[in-house]
């Protein structure tokens, strides 16, 4: 059997997905037996022009991580889609926009203003900002255009499968790679995890009756190590987040922040999380309810930590 031709690419991301891919450790040898890596900027020497020269559909699988933040990433997403039979969104940023997607609360102008002018260490009286094409004495220097809005991979090209997580845990990556190697691919559109229910199903903490009179910040209380964090008043996103990670964060006494994305069937992770919160608030008195929810100071960062571009809201409207 011919070896699978595999490509990897990173867009707006942190590199954690590459580290996660390397974390499969010795199993990488098994991958090498059945697959040839034809493009992986982090690791091998093939350049953009080599990919351009490939025939359409000649790459079997492309694992694409990172959000679409600039013109170059958008271009590469389209090119790799054309060249690849199967396109996989790997990790939260490609899947839902990820943490860089929180930039959709702002726009290019306000981001540039902050980064290149307003930050207290920056000395830039004349407001010099990076330009896509800039003429210097010796010639012209080009950099990609920074877009106003962060997009997910699915908002840019057709995507076949998703591997969630920030980054995906080793076992999730391996589950997907095994399916690829064995040619047992699930139906198109599948989010590949070994638990389609919530993180709560992975979590060893005891759940009783979720009733909360006060919402706490993580630093305000020392939690009971045995009991569900949501029941103790922490905004744990596990209830609205797809399982399969093994719930490492709640086991380290920290709430789930939602990196595996929505549970199967939920369209909007944040809306699902908000409705779950509403059901645990232990009051029927509107004033008391208002008082409880007044303690939620950053709803967007709490319920859409990784998924603002993929949410029904997509971005903030800039006045």
């Amino acid at each position: 059997m011919a070896k699978l031709k595999v490509a990897f690419y990173w867009a707006a991301s942190c590199g954690g997905c590459e580290i996660a891919q390397l974390e499969i450790g010795e199993k990488i040898l098994k991958v090498a037996e059945v697959a040839d890596i034809v493009f992986w900027p982090v690791a091998i020497d093939a350049k953009y022009k080599d990919v351009e020269a490939m025939a359409d559909g000649s790459i079997d699988v492309c694992l694409f991580n990172g959000a679409i933040r600039n013109s170059e990433q958008e271009h590469l997403a389209h090119m790799l889609r054309k060249k690849s039979k199967v396109m996989i969104a790997y990790g939260s940023c490609a899947y839902e926009g990820g943490v860089p997607g929180l930039a959709n609360m702002f726009d290019r102008a306000s981001i540039f203003e902050r980064v290149y002018h307003e930050t207290p260490s920056t000395n830039n009286k004349h407001k010099v900002f990076p330009e896509p094409s800039h003429k210097v004495h010796e010639g012209v220097l080009c950099i990609p255009e920074f877009n106003d809005t962060v997009k997910t991979l699915r908002q840019t090209v057709d995507v076949d499968y998703i591997i969630p997580g920030c980054p995906p845990e080793e076992k999730t990556t391996w589950l997907a790679l095994t399916a690829l190697i064995e040619g047992k691919l699930p139906p198109k559109g599948t989010v590949i995890t070994d638990n389609v229910k919530a993180v709560c199903d992975d979590c060893p903490r005891k759940r009783d009756v979720k009733k909360v009179k006060k919402v706490y910040r993580t630093y305000e209380i020392i939690t009971d190590p045995e009991i569900c964090l949501l029941e103790q008043g922490l905004l744990c996103a596990g209830v609205a987040t797809r399982g399969g990670c093994g719930a490492p964060c709640p086991q380290a006494n920290m709430p789930c922040t939602g990196c595996y994305g929505p549970v199967e069937g939920a369209i909007d992770q944040g809306a699902h999380f908000i409705s779950a919160m509403a059901s645990v608030i232990d009051s029927k008195d509107p004033d008391e309810i208002q008082k409880i929810i007044d303690d939620i100071h950053d709803p967007v960062g709490t319920v859409y930590r990784y998924s603002l571009p993929d949410s029904l809201l997509r971005r903030a409207r800039i006045q």
Partner: protein
């Protein structure tokens, strides 16, 4: 004007490209290093809960998330005016030491080391980790893999996750270690010390015993007389986790020593329109362009800088190696960029020894790992030494602890100006009229930036033998005469 582009540079974290312009005579006229990416964390931090920042900012870099996680956590201690219990500080530093062991190992064996171990002119196909394995033997290669794996396990035990840990909070850490785990960490630390010593021996055998390599390390093409910056402890010894920031001038004299909260009195950043990265410089000297010397505000960070600003190392075995390095290279400060590889190994040994000390400290078993903050949050600065240099986080919050403003000076950025200068100087020394631009020549140019272990975007470590930063060369008429 002729122009050479190296695009993308390999064996670094993230994206970047180098553009080299030649004049009519075919000599290098000017070199530009460009970073093509921005994500804008300083803006979208606004409105976030302060305590979420350790987990948000570590998404700047998945290679060194521990550095951002801890710089951010220390910033929160300052913002909330809370002093964590001693055990919590030790657990943070223990995780950080273990992280340094993995990160410096990765750089030496996978990213930077292949140039030396295999030689700069070795065929591309061999100038990588696989070539290194063939040369140093499977046993050592196995030790490299094992060291990385076992230390990632330590990070997971302490931090909750191997990539993007979650344990940092204002006033402490969210979890400690049980007796069984402590025993395991002690064993891993002991192994790490032996591994670091072995790595220094490998460097000795392969690099220092080769006269050509030593001549290359000390050659002018790879030398810049600059200021240096790094954290030091109360005795002016290297510290990764905490202390004062010390700056020395190109003669090695102390130029400044300041507490993290005062960084704005000492550091400013310059903006150029042709790149997304900013260029920090010493505020009192000012920005005078991409120049070295005492009159230029350009400073350098990362392993060699840290050793240059310190009076020594805080652990005995690393101290011996520190003295040996300076004795061999002719005293302090050392300005040879390539000596970063050696300094990194001295730091690897220090990290392993420090990890061993902390793992044996009975206090780390203490259940007292949190102080609950009670003061009203306002503003704070936190600084750690990331493997790639001094890393600064600065947040201002409202009285609810919601971020109003954030400023970040990321480690790699500290070397951004020097990086441009180093690449330019190496290009000028190596590209000559009529001389063909060979793979080996371009690799020698890359060797000018690889010692900084750059982490642009702060993205991914790449495997070796490749050039992730593309180099483009243009002639004086603007024709592309070399492309990757």
């Amino acid at each position: 004007m002729k122009k050479i582009t190296i695009d993308p540079i390999t064996r670094l974290e993230g994206h970047g490209k180098i553009e080299i312009f030649l004049n009519e005579a075919g000599e290098v006229s000017k070199t530009y290093f460009q970073v093509p990416e921005l994500r804008g964390f300083e803006r979208f931090a606004e409105g976030r809960l302060a305590e979420d920042m350790p987990q948000i900012t570590q998404r700047i870099c998945g290679v060194c998330p521990e550095a951002h996680h801890l710089a951010s956590t220390k910033t929160l201690d300052a913002v909330f005016h809370v002093d964590p219990p001693s055990a919590a500080k030790k657990l943070r530093e223990l995780l950080y030491s273990s992280f340094y062991v993995t990160d410096h190992t990765t750089h030496f064996y996978i990213l930077g080391g292949p140039d030396f171990v295999m030689g700069p002119d070795a065929p591309v196909a061999e100038r990588n980790i696989l070539g290194v394995i063939a040369k140093v033997g499977l046993e050592l290669a196995g030790a490299v893999i094992k060291t990385r794996k076992r230390n990632h396990h330590v990070i997971q035990m302490l931090g909750g996750r191997a990539v993007h840990p979650v344990f940092g909070m204002p006033g402490g850490v969210s979890k400690g270690l049980n007796a069984e785990q402590i025993k395991e960490v002690q064993e891993i630390a002991e192994e790490a010390v032996g591994f670091a010593q072995l790595s220094l021996k490998v460097f000795d055998d392969i690099v220092l015993k080769n006269k050509d390599y030593v001549a290359m390390i000390t050659s002018d093409a790879y030398t810049h007389r600059t200021y240096y910056m790094g954290l030091v402890d109360a005795k002016n010894r290297v510290n990764f986790y905490d202390g004062m920031v010390r700056v020395v001038d190109p003669d090695g004299q102390e130029f400044a020593k300041f507490a993290p909260k005062d960084y704005l009195d000492y550091i400013a950043e310059h903006v150029e329109p042709w790149t997304y990265i900013k260029f920090p410089y010493l505020k009192q000297i000012g920005w005078h362009g991409f120049k070295d010397g005492k009159d230029s505000g350009v400073y350098r960070v990362a392993p060699l800088a840290r050793l240059n600003v310190a009076d020594g190392m805080a652990t005995p075995l690393a101290q011996e190696e520190y003295q040996r390095m300076y004795a061999t290279l002719g005293g302090k400060p050392v300005h040879h960029t390539l000596a970063n590889h050696w300094a990194r190994l001295v730091e690897l040994l220090y990290a392993a020894e420090r990890m061993r000390e902390l793992s044996r400290d009975p206090e780390i078993a203490s259940p007292k790992i949190r102080t609950i903050p009670t003061a009203t949050p306002d503003e704070g600065v936190g600084i750690v030494e990331a493997p790639r240099g001094t890393l600064i986080h600065h947040y201002a919050t409202d009285e609810r602890g919601v971020i109003k403003k954030a400023n970040l000076i990321v480690a790699t950025v500290g070397n951004a100006a020097a990086f441009n200068m180093s690449v330019g100087k190496a290009a000028e020394a190596l590209i000559k009229p009529g001389k063909p631009i060979t793979e080996g020549l371009l690799n020698r140019i890359e060797m000018a930036w690889r010692p900084y272990d750059p982490c642009f975007g702060c993205a991914t470590h790449s495997l070796p033998g490749r050039s992730p930063i593309p180099v483009y060369v243009y002639d004086s008429k603007g024709n592309l005469v070399h492309k990757p």
